[in-house]
């Protein structure tokens, strides 16, 4: 009797009989043996959750040199992703000019200072612009002078320093400089050793940023904000205004956001974050460290939520309400969902006939390749292949695999902070009995089940996809849409397939929350049904034979 686990169902229709196992072999054939062996672990044919015993994916491992990768570096993860969206810290890049230049306003983190007088340094790029003499004789002096100049010009609340590759090599001690300048200036100055060569991807930079912001800022301000249901929104970077939409929805529900890490954020929000009663985690990959450490130190529990997709948004709101165990909140959440849904359903029904049955591929980030599958599902589209750019195994397989993840040399280089309960500020938000009761009701704390569980049987899951693999997938599966980033955008579109950027949103959005879902439905409908793709061939390319008729006439 063949069990469901051996059957190849679900995706048959959409993938026109492509056998993913065969495709995987084909992908690997191209590589030199050693590379093929490595890539084999990172390309997995998915199985249903009930049959996934022993299914393991290679992730958070080094990219082989010369394999064209989507990945960036630790600096990008630290300065670009996590600290970039905070508007009132002067972020100084310590290094040659490039790193600062490329991370200048390119990530579309929106911010909205309440008044004209509030600080906003996000439109600025600050760099020590190291020259050869600084490399030879050391750059600490220049860094100190740069911090002083920044202070004299702007008098900011805080200044942070981001190390680029050569800084680590020449041995500049950015932390000592930070300490010295903190004392000299009387403001918070802190540094990040986020040299680009650390770790294997941006991910290491997220971790370093988490550690830094936790060590140097979180917990500095004990004032308690008004609000009955106070949460932090972790791992939401306000690309295209996502956090604004989430804030709108939460506010409507009566939920107070104490801090967002780090979309539309301020220094003071971080300093005050420990006064919240719940940490909600959007992008698990980039921010779970802060969530974990805040639980240890301050007793704030964390839950995984997802505001990408209307259904997911509703589910996340209910989960937050469930946590607070308050009928008033639950009622209000239900009322908000009931109020928002009709418009969403209307647009969904409008686009569905045009999108139903179309296929998507998502290769991006550390959570988006998972979250956005929700939106495609709501439109009747199927995700046939997906993978992350810089995630770890737990983002694919769920946090249950954490104890089995081997810590390799690259991860060991990234500091794990020893965190203990804060003698004054540690305050468990729930009693053991309450926690027990919630658990019995099926409430999941500090859990993330990962991408693979939500994907179909036989879907191809590929970690750190290469350029070559991307081209092959396009050729064989011919998806209706491909989601990735700017580097892949025109490669895919030149192949006649629309690419939706899920880092920058192609300068659109928001796509989070309720309004975001509507935006996304309309955007994908526009893309997969665009008439332009019918014009790829000129009339004479479609039927090149000349008719001899006129000449004879």
């Amino acid at each position: 009797m063949s069990s469901i686990c051996e059957e190849k169902l679900n995706l048959e229709e959409e993938t026109e009989g492509v056998d993913p196992e065969v495709l995987k072999k084909e992908l690997l054939e191209k590589y030199p043996t050693k590379v093929a062996r490595k890539r084999a672990k990172q390309i997995v044919v998915n199985k249903l959750a009930s049959c996934s015993e022993g299914l393991e994916i290679g992730a958070n491992v080094r990219t082989t040199p010369g394999i064209i990768t989507q990945r960036g570096c630790t600096y990008a993860g630290c300065k670009g992703v996590i600290l970039g969206p905070t508007r009132d810290i002067v972020n100084i890049t310590h290094g040659p000019i490039g790193c600062g230049f490329y991370s200048w306003l390119t990530r579309r983190n929106q911010t909205r200072p309440p008044t004209e007088n509030d600080e906003n340094f996000m439109t600025y790029c600050f760099s020590t612009d190291m020259q050869d003499k600084d490399i030879v004789f050391g750059g600490e002096k220049k860094l100190k002078a740069a911090i002083q100049e920044a202070y004299d010009l702007f008098k900011p609340k805080a200044i942070s320093i981001f190390s680029t590759c050569p800084v680590g090599l020449i041995g500049d001690d950015v932390h000592a400089v930070a300490r010295e300048m903190r004392e000299a200036l009387g403001i918070n100055v802190f540094g990040f050793s986020c040299e680009g060569y650390k770790g294997v991807s941006q991910s290491a930079g997220h971790h370093i940023a988490n550690n830094g912001i936790f060590t140097h800022v979180v917990g500095l301000d004990d004032s308690v904000k008004e609000g009955k249901y106070k949460i932090n929104l972790l791992g939401e970077y306000n690309i295209g205004g996502d956090a604004f939409e989430i804030d709108r929805v939460l506010e409507k529900c009566g939920i107070t956001v104490v801090s967002t890490f780090s979309g539309n954020s301020t220094y003071d929000q971080f300093a005050n974050a420990h006064t919240a009663d719940l940490n909600t985690v959007m992008c698990h990959r980039s921010i779970n460290y802060v969530a974990e450490m805040m639980e240890e130190k301050f007793g704030i529990p964390w839950i995984k939520i997802n505001f990408i997709g209307a259904e997911a948004t509703a589910k996340s709101l209910r989960k937050i309400a469930h946590y607070f165990q308050d009928q008033e909140l639950s009622d209000r959440v239900e009322a908000v969902i009931a109020e928002e849904m009709p418009e969403i359903l209307k647009v969904r029904e409008e686009v569905r006939p045009r999108c139903q049955g179309k296929t998507a591929m998502l290769f991006v980030g550390g959570s988006r390749a998972h979250h956005y599958q929700e939106l495609f599902k709501e439109m009747g589209m199927k995700t046939i292949s997906a993978g992350y750019e810089f995630a770890h195994r737990d983002d694919y397989e769920g946090r249950k695999v954490l104890p089995t993840i081997k810590v390799d040399a690259d991860s060991r280089n990234i500091e794990e902070l020893e965190v203990t309960p804060d003698p004054e500020r540690f305050r468990p938000r729930k009693s053991p009995e309450e926690l027990e009761r919630l658990a019995q009701e099926g409430f999941e704390f500090k859990d993330y089940e990962g991408m693979m569980r939500d994907m179909d049987n036989q879907a191809l899951v590929i970690d750190d996809i290469s350029q070559y693999e991307t081209e092959k997938l396009l050729e064989i599966y011919k998806p209706s849409i491909f989601c990735a980033g700017i580097k892949e955008k025109y490669v895919v579109q030149k192949q006649g397939i629309p690419l939706k950027q899920l880092h920058s949103y192609d300068y659109g959005g928001p796509y989070a929350g309720f309004k975001g879902a509507v935006n996304f439905y309309q955007e994908i409908d526009r893309m997969v049904n665009s008439k332009v793709w019918n014009s790829l061939k000129a009339p004479w390319q479609k039927s090149p034979e000349l008719s001899a008729k006129y000449a004879c006439d």
Binding site: K30, P32, T63, T64, P65, G66, I67, I68, T69, G72, C73, T74, Y75, G95, P96, I97, G98, G100, F101, Y102, S103, W104, L105, T106, E116, E119, F121, T123, Y124, C125, F126, S127, T128, D129, Q131, I135, K144, A145, A146, E149, L153, F154, C165, P166, L169, I170, E195, Y197, K198, S466, L474, I486, K487, K489, Y490, Q493, K494, Q495, G496, L536
Partner: protein, 458 residues
Amino acid sequence: MLLRHTPKEVKERSALTINPAKTCQPIGAMYASLGIHGCLPHSHGSQGCCAYHRSTLTRHYKEPVMAATSSFTEGSSVFGGQANLVQAIDNIFTVYQPEVIAVHTTCLSETIGDDIPQIARKAEADGKIPRGKYVIHANTPSYVGSHVTGFANMTKAMVDYFAASTGKKEDRINIIPGYVEPADMEEIKRMAGRLGIQTILFPDTSNVLNRPQTGKFEMYPRGGVTVDALMGTGDSKATVALGPMASGPAARALDTKCKVPCEILDLPIGLSATDRFVDALRKLGGVHVPDSINLERGQLLDIITDMHQYFYGKKVALVGDPDQLVSLVEFLVSIDMMPVYVVTGTPGKKFESRIRELTREVPHEVKVRAEGDMFLLHQWIKNEPVDLMMGNTYLKYISRDEDIPFVRFGFPILDRIGHAYFPTVGYRGGMRLLEKILDALLDRQDRDAPEERFELVM
């Protein structure tokens, strides 16, 4: 306000660069490498460098930008990047099969001191470089010069690695177009073609970074100078190098290596610089300038005479790269505009003296700065505003805050199209520049004019 913290008062800074007017060498090297047919640029450093350069070039061109990286880890940073590069070379030739890998270094590999030729020899000895394929390199430490320097260094590498002289001179001229757009390279070839001159243009990113939508992605598009052509540069009878900073080093190297005499000219932006370019080609090629070129020149001149009243006395702030700015300043001065602020982030003292010389007769104080930044430019503007700004996309923040008309020119342009398709060099490029300048100025006049002075005919 977007740049709300920029104070009017200018204080000299010695250490902090704010809102840079340059970026680092490797991206220029990557751009130049893309101008070799069948070439995969390779960034010898951390992954982030390659990702950043590809992203920026992609945003600027809205085209695929292929490049590989040595993916340095902490280990390679300690022990050197030889193993990474040898493996990269093997993988690239196996999987992506280019004709050439053009390696450029980064601040990381330069600080470590990796010796690229030695590593390439090792790769060759290990049999990782297939017969008839090439690995070339340029040293492009990010802490020296700017993206322009990187472009110049990689262009020179094309000469160092490929140019050869057989002893038999050919009746043809090398043109090194400088750090300009694919459309500009195309235009330079077209003009030379009109003059009836055989040329080899290198690097050549036309039909690489402005290629058509065909429904088929090609890793190595049709454009780019071929390796054979690069080898042939040593037999050409002369080289015309456009833009001393971007093209000078390659031209001089070719003179030294293969005895090909060179003329180093300004970029042919604007009337006079284009005149000098055409004149140089005419003399070197021993040809007559055809009527079709005279026609284009006359059309450019016609726009200037027709619309002179709108150019006259307008104050302009410029930010960009030295080669471009020198020609642009000359052009603006020639039509009686007043380039009053001129800033480049690229170091080089010659730049300041050259701009001073070109603006000697401008009836206004002219501030010029090499190794400057856009923060400084903004401060100057706050002290005395201008009528027009020209520069890359980042100027839009100043433009909006100060409500000043803005023409996009230079690198990078991240928010508009056109630069990949329509040139700014040559007479026709000059016409396009003037059209853009006039559109910006006249749109502003239309916007601000009192109703009774709203003009139908302008």
